[in-house]
Subunit: 746 residues, 2 copies
């Protein structure tokens, strides 16, 4: 199964050049068909009956009134035959049911209705009479382990044993340290709330289920559905051609998908089930809130000696994991490190992976502690970080990084930002003060080196690219078309892409974990090279020359000679006879003895009005080592989007649970504040360090999606500290908190 | 590009066994989605304005009234910008335009309308005011070459030079012959008139056109559309998942498809354009009518010495070819053969390939002449044919046939039919007489050995088969699933098929020419074997044994040992890591020095009421050498369907053109008579000779679709002659003709 690994690219002619998206027209014109747009003449619409309580037991479900309502075609409850499937959580097995009578958070699924129109479905869902026994609840994760706290699960509120990591001798490290800083930080529970809500359209054709779904990985969704519905993989077809944001919340199948499938099977008609905005706030994930106590010790010269993290977090009512310790263990060289993190259950919606799970939280703590350390040591914060840049992954048995651009991110970022001058400039003596801050980060996952790609080369030199991966809005289709264009000399408008369809494309990993480009692009390249090899062999046979003397250019084969020769595709007999050349490519494995990960440094400048507490982010610069920049437009989009999310994390976003009712009080876009155009700097700066990592894979790229959001919030907090001297340990950095803190010290 | 050719199958466990169709449920339940069923919320409906005259020039088209009618979204005429594309005919280049002002037959396209509903479109089409200058016409092909005949094309009415073939010395052959027979035959113009009319739904997504179409080969349709619309192949997607019959008339793209595409582009909305039954009689093909004068000479022992055919036919108003001489040149051993055939233009719809183009016509003449020869020689008709069975193709440089089952078809067919007894039985002395007849045939095309197949094997052992070929109702999907099941041990219900979609499947030849099974099945087998090889290599690596000691059974790898071992797929690490194994297979080339073609003998028994002229076909038996029977149900369907079509050709079907107006007078299912259940024998017999042709390809199958209809009509005519002594040279064998002939000799 081993394929020869092709040599890395040198200079490229298409890859890395500024090109518009291949699907730009469809996206901006409204022609793109999203899952919600899929329709059929006999389409039914589903609505889900959800528990309104934070914690309750369903005593009785009376569907008789709903069933008699106009347009209603089916009602499903836990009592419906075959409906109450066990609900799995990864490898943890079933801890719940599709319609579990024990509702462990507000919004849990109790019943579902399919009707001719969305309105009829909603009306009927409201008419399902559910008798609940309300139970005591716990929504504050700090309370969950207290004696007498209400139990979310019969087994208690502890999601397994605490997660521990240790290297060196932390006690000794702190004993030897000349400066020690210790501080406790809190992070908010953020909701993904993508533009496009979660949902599916399900349709049965005989024994085959087709699901049009908004997700980040059709093959993982297929696996989940096949498991729940006990079907062969190839009999479940999942399609996700366009999607309007997921940020990690669309990596796992939702109950809405299974409900749509069951209602479709029951009615013999296709069923659409999409969540409302309010439902999506409650039921399809969040970034777990954490409390992180971080202690750091260093020598006077800034060398880190010991780091210790103690964390508590919650993934909600079901297991998902709230770990946030990675950066403490790997971002900086440090001989002695210990982390211990506890995850607890509360009566709230389960978390899901959220753009760099755990990392912005950890950066919030670590990078503020580094800032404080720098201050205590009298070392410039950039210099302190540079002092501790790692060359090996201490977390992973000291394996070297294939490339560590962190130092370049810090140095070149500082240079481009005008760090030294800004840092030296007085903060302003009046009511409005300014400050600059820096924070660093890295991403912690190499991705799964698993991608199979099929490239079909047609008789006229136009190309079909078959790729399982989803384009979650990041431009994956464009990147992969560029890779094909690079190798096969086909212009982008002659490359057609079939993607994210388990029925027609080969398997692919989900688009998450910043792996999409660097996992898929090498496989696309391999498939294109497989095509090229076959074409050149065909031509070599026809021209009676060695294939190695031939090259493929747009529309023709060129023989270097002597004698020089050109062969138009239309004259390439074997191609014209066969009409298509199929190339199959795989992602080769990661290097065995090295680790390839992206690094980042963000720089922020803020302005604080000390009278009102208002904070404005004036400038943001993201310097990234994500390997080769494949597609500049998408790369910049990622950086700007990531930094904007970092502003939300630092300054505006937080799920609020009412301690009296356990219910979310801001489950809508009015009360849950996303950053808007007015909250972001007018001209954020994207500074790609752009080293071509020739070791990690055959295209030289690393991930960009997640690094782009990791240190932003911490950089802003450090800038606020620089401006005001205030250390903000708990978001949000909003006028209420700022005013309280500013006025308190008057 | 050479792949090792696998050994031919011996005994098979799935292939050749009686199994229901894999898509049987969809077909009989009405769930199958045909092109006509494809719909969109904003779908528009097209109607075409057609010339009502046999020959006319369009002087003026006034669309102003139509454009103002309710629901009308677009009107296209020859004057619309970009609409009037040159219309190609194979390699003959453009001889016409999409909307040609010179209308050469009734039904030619003049304009088209798209509207919100089909009714609105039809109303608006009627409201397009067209001013025609009527021209003199010719609709009788015997008149077309007469001096002063109206010219269909400016270049005249001759479609190229006559088609000639000659071997040996025909004059010498006839001089040496002891018995000579010469007779002139005529054949009817049949209309394909499949259950499902012709039509397309066209939709643009940005620069990509998707067409849901009813056709026999999506890749050929794609090539045509790409040529007309000047687009890269991969930007045109043609899909044909189910289709309700074509019989050759759906091999080429129709103007309706291009019209739908242009209207869709103009309106920015998807457009459906389907022909009415009446339109389909006029404009989408027919079997050309022929006049064939055949002369045969033999020795007294029955050895054929000379054959000479002079033919005239017409492919209508545009070039297609009406050749009907093949059987004369290759069905029997004969040293001296000459054929000369002339094709002329008339003012009628163009012909298209029709199940065994030219062959039933030729069999009609040749097999009646053989019958007459046998009578004159006093030799049994079966014995006369056996005397002249060929072992080499004299037409093709005396290359041997890979297998010639003709003798077995004749002998075993005669045996099963009870030929000798029936032939010896008195015909009946009363008003109702009986007779039996035989006729032989062969098919003349090996098919194009071009098929590329992709098989994807998922982690749970379920399979996706990606195949470009259409299943035109013959059961191709079932055959190919059986081939996969045979090689991969996967049960049929775990094999999912994606087919006939140029966007997602590899290239394939069209399903026509009796090539579908024997061209595609070897490629499917090769792709499945490619998957198996990879799986066994993966297992060998894991088990540390030789791959050759391993076999793949359902859900597990079995090591023959020692030591014996089993490895479940879920434990096959590389498969689980990779999640999919992709196999690519090609059809290997035909043997270079041999020809592989199917042979057939049909036996018929008829009853003639000499008072009324009514003829009933009592019995039909089809004995076929089509190589291995892959899928018995489909094979029988083909034989019964073919024989039924033969009844139509002999007894009921004929296009009638009014000599006064040049218009077709029976362009509907009431006046154009298709054979019905009452016209066919209650129990037709399918007798597969079933030799496994191990030389022609790796599955041993030859074609069955076309041989099944070639000799039926001739066998019926010969039976009528046996019953009545009347030689019927012109169909239809209907009561009118029979009564005239029977009464004439009283």
């Amino acid at each position: 199964m081993t394929e020869t690994r092709p040599a890395p690219w040198g200079e490229t002619t298409v890859v890395g050049k500024p090109r518009p998206r291949v699907d730009g027209f469809e996206r901006v014109s409204g022609r793109a068909v999203y899952a919600m747009d899929v329709t059929f003449p006999d389409l039914l619409h589903a609505a889900i009956v959800r528990c309104p309580h934070a914690h309750a037991r369903v005593r009785k479900v009376d569907t008789s009134k709903a069933e008699r309502m106009p347009g209603v075609r089916a009602v499903l409850t836990g009592g419906s035959p075959g409906a109450n499937l066990p609900w799995h959580f990864g490898e943890k097995g079933p801890l719940s049911l599709l319609f579990d009578p024990h509702c462990r958070h507000e919004g849990e699924e109790v019943a579902a209705v399919a009707a001719d129109t969305p309105q009829q479905a909603k009306d009927a869902a409201r008419a399902v009479a559910v008798e609940y026994e309300e139970l005591p609840f716990v929504v504050d994760y700090a309370d969950a382990l207290k004696p007498g706290a209400p139990a979310v699960h019969d087994s208690g509120n502890r999601n397994g044993e605490p997660d521990k990591y240790e290297r060196g001798d932390v006690a000794k490290g702190f004993a030897e340290a000349e400066v020690v800083v210790e501080r406790t930080f809190k992070t908010p529970c953020e909701i993904h709330t993508p533009m496009e809500p979660h949902g599916s359209v399900a349709k049965w054709d005989g024994g085959r289920l087709t699901v049009w779904d908004t997700n980040q990985g059709v093959f993982d969704i297929r696996s989940g559905l096949a498991q729940w519905l006990q079907m062969p993989l190839t009999r479940v077809r999942v399609i996700s051609k366009y999607m309007g944001g997921g940020f990690g919340s669309k990596l796992e199948p939702g109950k809405y998908t299974v409900i749509a499938a069951l209602l479709a099977r029951k009615t013999g008609r296709p069923v659409r089930c999409f969540l409302s905005r309010e439902e999506s706030f409650l039921c399809v994930g969040n970034r777990p809130p954490n409390t992180l106590t971080l202690k750091a010790g260093a020598k006077k010269d800034g060398t880190l000696l010991a780091l210790q993290l103690t964390g508590l977090g919650t993934s909600g009512a079901y297991p998902d994991g709230s770990g946030a310790g990675y950066l403490v263990t790997d971002l900086y060289s440090c001989p002695n490190v210990r982390t211990e993190e506890t995850d607890v259950f509360i009566n709230a919606g389960k978390s899901r992976a959220f753009r760099a799970p755990g990392f912005p939280q950890c950066a919030w703590a670590l990078e503020q502690v580094m800032d404080e350390l720098a201050e205590k040591l009298g070392i410039d914060p950039v210099e302190l970080r540079l002092k501790n840049v790692p060359t090996v992954s201490q977390r992973r048995k000291n394996q070297p990084f294939t490339s560590t651009g962190l130092a370049r991110c810090l140095r070149e970022g500082a240079e481009a930002f005008g760090w030294k001058a800004a840092r030296a400039t007085p903060r302003g003596g009046g009511a409005v003060v300014r400050g600059v801050g820096v924070a660093a980060g890295m991403w912690g996952w190499e991705g799964e080196p698993r991608s199979t790609i099929i490239v079909k080369y047609a008789a006229d030199g136009s190309v079909d690219l078959g790729m399982g991966a989803s384009d979650i809005g990041t431009g994956t289709k464009t990147v992969m078309a560029m890779v094909v264009a690079e190798e096969l000399g086909a212009p982008l408008d002659r490359i057609q892409i079939d993607h994210a369809d388990t029925g027609t494309t080969p398997s692919a990993v989900s688009s998450g974990g910043s792996q999409t480009t660097h996992v898929n692009a090498p496989a696309v390249r391999a498939a294109a090279l497989d095509v090229k090899r076959q074409l050149l062999e065909m031509a070599a046979e026809q021209l009676k020359v060695e294939a190695t003397s031939l090259s493929l250019e747009e529309g023709e084969i060129v023989a270097a000679g002597p004698p020089e020769a050109k062969l138009a595709l239309k004259d390439l007999k074997s191609l014209q006879e066969q009409q298509v050349v199929v190339g199959v490519g795989h992602r080769h494995p990661h290097p065995k003895d090295k680790i390839g990960l992206p690094f980042v440094a963000h720089f922020a400048e803020v302005e604080v009005d000390t009278r009102t507490g208002e904070v404005r982010v004036l400038r943001l610069l993201g310097a990234h080592d994500s390997g080769r920049v494949m597609y500049p437009l998408g790369y910049e989009n990622q950086v700007f989007g990531g930094m904007t999310m970092g502003i939300g994390f630092a300054m505006t976003e937080e799920r609020r649970l009412d301690p009296n009712t356990g219910r979310m009080v801001n489950a809508n876009w009015h009360d849950y504040k996303l950053p808007t155009a007015l909250d972001v700097p007018a001209k954020p700066v994207c500074l790609p360090i752009d080293p071509h990592d020739t070791e990690i894979n055959t295209v030289g790229a690393k991930g960009i999606g997640e690094p782009a959001t990791i240190p932003t919030a911490a950089a802003i907090a450090n800038a606020v500290h620089h401006a005001t001297g205030l250390r903000i340990t708990e978001p949000s950095i909003n006028p209420v908190q700022m005013a309280q803190k500013l006025w308190a010290r008057r």
